[in-house]
């Protein structure tokens, strides 16, 4: 094994909405997956930077060509700018743990990156191309596998990773997940935002709202089932800040997630060897940013009653569980394997 002083292992959870990195030097960081370039000379002069990443980019969005380069957790199709944005984002994340493009000073970086369960091969290859030069070795794994690795649920478990762009479901059977063990759904955080936005616009047609406002409201007050209290937000109506009650809209939008998730969970469990189905039902693990929707675990647990009941738990650290799992994979992999993966 190479001396850890010369090698830095990193685990990266590349998310549509938020990306996280955990490094073997003990550092952990999460950033909003936004990258922005100043729109003109004036903006560049004010911002004094050629590119901004994360919250800083979001806060200065009016002066930026702002990109959220990861669609459904993977490189967006179409433009070189988006590929460049992913590179900037990765470079920024690596910089946060001390091994950005500048300042690596001979440190070997070995990275494990989690991608959506059903990512196409071509997308993985694209990611590999984008990361060339940023790291010395790269292992791409499915996100739910990284989560399972982090929480030691590699046998008889169902991982449900509800992110922004996708929800990844994966049954862990003690083997590396194959196509049949995994599903990726587009019913995830962004989908809830869209539904919420439509519902608010339908009920409060006069209010002016933006996707950023809707996302913030959801992150603050998302719930399924019984509301803890009314969800009151402020939005301009004909320019005047106005209080809106969006409790029912929030409930409807969030509860829309439950049926497709429950159906897919049941479908995946039904495909498990009958001998182990009960074990899997009682070991459903929720991860991802959208586990912040209050009551989602109870709603999914309720849905499992259809097939005899089960137990649904949310991981303790939804933001970093994927990157921590990836880091654990990185440190556990043999030096010989890393050599092979350095091509």
């Amino acid at each position: 094994m190479t001396d850890n002083n010369e090698v830095l292992f990193v685990g990266i959870d590349l998310g549509t909405s938020r990306s996280a990195i955990s490094a073997s030097n003990g550092q952990r960081c999460a950033v909003d997956s936004y990258v922005g370039w100043p729109v003109d000379m004036v903006a560049r002069k004010i911002l004094r930077r050629s590119v901004l990443v994360g919250k800083e980019a979001l806060d200065n969005r009016s002066m930026l060509d702002l990109r959220r380069p990861l669609e459904r957790g993977l490189l967006k199709e179409g433009s070189e700018r988006d590929a460049d944005a992913v590179r900037q984002l990765l470079s920024h994340l690596l910089g946060l743990v001390g091994v950005g493009e500048e300042g690596r000073s001979g440190v070997k970086v070995r990275a494990v990156v989690g991608v959506p369960a059903e990512a196409l091969r071509v997308s993985k290859q694209q990611l590999r191309n984008v990361m060339k030069g940023l790291v010395d070795g790269l292992l791409i794994v499915s996100e739910p596998f990284a989560v399972a690795y982090a929480v030691d649920a590699l046998l008889h478990a169902l991982i449900v990773d509800i992110g922004a762009g996708t929800t990844d479901l994966c049954v862990m059977n003690g083997r590396y997940p194959t196509e049949g063990d995994q599903r990726t759904l587009l019913n995830a955080g962004d989908w809830v935002d869209e539904q919420l936005s439509k519902l608010i616009q339908a009920h409060h047609a006069e209010a002016t709202i933006s996707p950023f406002m809707v996302r913030e409201w959801k992150e603050r007050a998302a719930f399924v089932g019984k509301a803890k209290g009314p969800v009151i937000v402020s939005a301009p109506v004909k320019g005047k800040p106005t209080q809106l009650d969006i409790t029912e809209e929030m409930r409807t939008a969030c509860e829309g997630l439950v049926p497709p998730l429950a159906e897919t969970m049941i479908d995946l469990i039904a495909k498990v060897d009958p001998e182990y189905q009960e074990k899997v039902r009682n070991n459903v693990i929720l991860a991802g940013g959208s586990t912040g929707i209050a009551g989602i675990d109870r709603a999914l647990q309720e849905a499992l009653k259809e097939i005899g009941g089960g137990r649904v738990q949310i991981v303790k650290d939804p933001v970093f569980v994927g990157s921590d799992g990836s880091l654990a994979i990185a440190t556990d992999a043999d030096d010989v394997d890393w050599e092979k993966l350095s091509g």
Binding site: R121, Y149, Y176, D337, G343
Partner: protein, 359 residues
């Protein structure tokens, strides 16, 4: 406790090894091994083997019992043994010469041998159910097919949909074979030869369209026939590029096929598939255009000996459809639609033949 930890550690190491192997396969341009499918295939073959073994053991037992008891085995096979029909039953004379297995298994397409002079048969003469489906994911290996935004390749999409469709068909009890199961270039003639050698009852080639006018979108399904449409001629030429056939092979194949009974069956299959594709996809793709059922001389349709269609399941040249194709849910919907088309066709063809297809 120690055993449990050692077990967990063993699983971790195993999974890590598999993750590394998958990555290396991608780096080397191969498709990761599909362990689960292989295991299922093995199970299927074991089950088939057992089913075959039952009549053999039963027959053998009867013969042995006959010998031991001094009875004439003709009470089992009829006078003269198994070559003669049982008493009281009319002898069945085959309407067409049975296809020799040795011809089918050779894996080579002997065009002259397989296609005699044109002779039209009535479909009623062949009341046979659909059991074996051959799926043909278009392109592969160095042949990417069409490439959409973000390097999304037709070969990847076609293979992904074919795997999904295969699972659906297997669940329904069909035997399914694929002309390719990984990212490899398989010549068109070899694909057809594979379908013929394995006695497929139905052949479906899966492709994604690319139309120069990038505002055009939609689905279309082809069966074999001549065309005067310059676009279709161009499309067929593009798809037929790597055939390996000579011009005279081609001509002989066409002469034999255009009067073939399976052209009617292929048309019915194409209509069923196209209709289900449009019905299902229109819900997710509101502006989807039904470009219809068409005829064109694609080599895989010419050289196969069973009802055969080529489905262009969406347009990678259209920005919205390219986005949809990158989406797992949409690809699964396509697979389900193709499945529904096959079921609809098989149900019609199997009608009154005692087949039990589930809904």
């Amino acid at each position: 406790m120690g055993d449990a930890m050692a077990g967990a550690d063993r699983i971790r190491r195993k999974l890590l090894r598999e993750a590394v192997h998958e990555n290396l396969a991608i780096m080397n341009g191969q498709h990761p091994a599909r362990r689960r499918m292989r295991r299922e295939q093995v199970k299927r073959w074991v089950r088939r083997g057992l089913l075959l073994l039952i009549p053999v053991v039963f027959g053998g037992t009867l013969v042995l019992v006959g010998r031991a008891t001094g009875l004439d085995p003709s009470w089992v096979w009829g006078p003269g043994g198994r070559d003669r029909p049982a008493p009281g039953k009319a002898e069945v004379v085959p309407l067409v010469e049975p296809r020799a297995n040795v011809d089918r298994a050779d894996g080579q397409l002997g065009a002259a041998r397989r296609f005699g002079p044109p002779a039209r048969l009535a479909s009623a003469a062949l009341p046979l159910p659909v059991r074996t489906v051959i799926l043909d994911p278009g392109h592969g290996g160095h042949d990417f097919g069409t490439i959409g935004p973000g390097n999304l390749a037709e070969k990847e999409i076609a293979l992904d949909i074919a795997f999904r469709l295969r699972n659906l068909l297997i669940d329904q009890g069909f035997a399914v074979l694929m002309t390719r199961e990984r990212d490899e270039a398989v010549p068109l003639g070899q694909r057809a030869a594979f379908a013929n050698a394995n006695a497929g009852d139905l052949f479906m080639s899966i492709h994604v369209n690319w139309i120069p006018n990038q505002r055009t979108r939609g689905i279309e399904t082809y069966y074999l026939g001549p065309t005067d449409d310059p676009f279709l001629t161009q499309l067929a030429a593009a798809e037929n590029r790597e055939t390996g056939y000579s011009f005279s092979d081609f001509k002989r194949l066409l002469d034999g096929i255009y009067t073939d009974i399976r052209r009617d069956e292929s048309r019915r299959l194409a209509e069923a598939v196209n209709s289900k594709l449009f019905q299902s996809l229109a819900s997710s793709n509101r502006r989807l255009v039904d470009r219809g059922v068409k005829q064109a001389p694609f080599v895989v349709l010419i050289a196969t000996e069973m009802p055969a269609v080529l489905a262009e399941v969406s347009c990678l040249s259209h920005q919205d459809e390219a986005k949809l194709l990158a989406d797992t849910t949409y690809r699964h919907l396509i697979a389900r639609s193709l499945f529904a088309g096959i079921i609809s066709y098989a149900r019609t063809e199997n009608a009154g033949k005692g087949s039990q297809l589930n809904d």
